[in-house]
Symmetry: none
């Protein structure tokens, strides 16, 4: 009988580099956002709110990161999943912390779900690009290590 | 004056067999889910999260079991009930813990409502089949005993 | 730079054996309890409420398991830590979910924190013995595998 | 009539340096902690959880930073204030988020309250030293600029 299995968990060092990369990308886009990174247990690992970023979006960025890590798909994939299913469209959106719009991306290490990034404060498209910039940093370091 | 009546309440033993049967069914379907069983008071009686099952769905499975036990109909029957009634469609879906999509099934013993099963983590259809597998175990034991 | 590290995570199979062992121990002691197992992210992995166990203790067992997994020491060690420190004695006990009395034990695999067990419904001593019986099952299987 | 006044608000750049300095200090002390920085509105500005830091302390570090920024004194000063006043000792400790033990330090800029730092995961003394290291970074930059 298998008693346990191993889950990869992101380090603080890479998380802080991801926060930095997200902010740099946001500055290039001329927008101020909130950035959250959660670990494989969907627990808060790192967060930063840029100067002038909307306070309202602080919690949204945390919920996007949670949603990505707790289900394993980008938050942008949720609406297409539910738009043709009225029971989900009217129902599942009430799930606590579930966020069904762009800006949350799951993190994978060795094909295992290892956390999530959430960005909020810009347009949906900007939030998505900024979150992708954070994920890109992780993937670069993973390739270097491999 | 009748002062009290009896409510059937499921035992821990059958609940653990129901959790096992649900997990076996899920493995056959190749999906990892969260499974909840609540008793006649709609209170948590048993729960298990399979390895790799989405964290997000943990609470949804609990809410499905609650909804089934607390109203007495499968959660899949809710949307057809409300879709033609705009006040319900936009209103009742905000009821705390109410879940209006497939995966929650009430438990009946001697025609009395005795609890609920909730499954979340697969497609709506998979969740429904897995919950049915759990209910089936209860019904098998009830028939053997009858 | 280290980008990630591995965390051991308990399987559903061992969790259900732990729930069973806890219930068997509780029956030997003649008490009905709630038993919770959480994983390395302090998220609910398994739960069972025995027939006749107090409903009030359902949440307490979950909080004990959370506390054990989220801090890494048995909940019975908390009071001795804080009783001589009045600021903690009057302050830290208000921390959400923190439980400072017996019945919660952390799980360690290869010296890494891998979850927690929480038991509530009996006396503090009984809860502690029942939680220990659940941990014992994990340790037996770990030794067999080693 | 004076219609408005200026509040100094810490930048993201200094906040990330404060998080780094706190982690460096924690590594020197051989302890893994959660570090939070909030701004002049007592709202989350930056956060990091070190590898291996207790999950339980994540919320405590946020509450310490909140308490410091929302009242303007170090959290270590709270207990001496209330210990001789039974109504406070038994009452005010229930205030939502109020933390009455060491590890939270307010931030002042030009004698104006400008935020707070909160650290949790080590001993009270360690948490206090690590929070002080974060504040020290802010003060160094303020002096250089002055």
């Amino acid at each position: 009988m298998k008693v346990f299995y191993e889950k990869p968990s992101i380090t603080r060092e890479i998380v802080m580099k991801m926060l930095d990369a997200a902010c740099t990308k946001a500055e290039q886009l001329g927008v101020a956002v909130n950035v959250t990174v959660v670990d494989e247990g969907a627990n808060l690992k790192g967060f930063v709110r840029m100067d002038g970023a909307p306070l309202l979006s602080s919690g949204i960025s945390q919920n996007k990161a949670y949603t990505a890590a707790a289900f394993g798909i980008p938050t942008s994939k949720w609406y297409p999943l539910i738009e043709k299913e009225p029971a989900l469209l009217h129902g599942i959106v009430h799930t606590d912390r579930l966020t069904v719009f762009e800006g949350g991306i799951p993190l994978y290490i060795n094909e295992q779900l290892a956390g999530g990034v959430g960005v909020s404060g810009g347009s949906a498209e900007q939030d998505g690009m900024i979150a992708a910039a954070a994920v890109e940093v992780l993937n670069q370091f993973l390739n270097v290590e491999a």
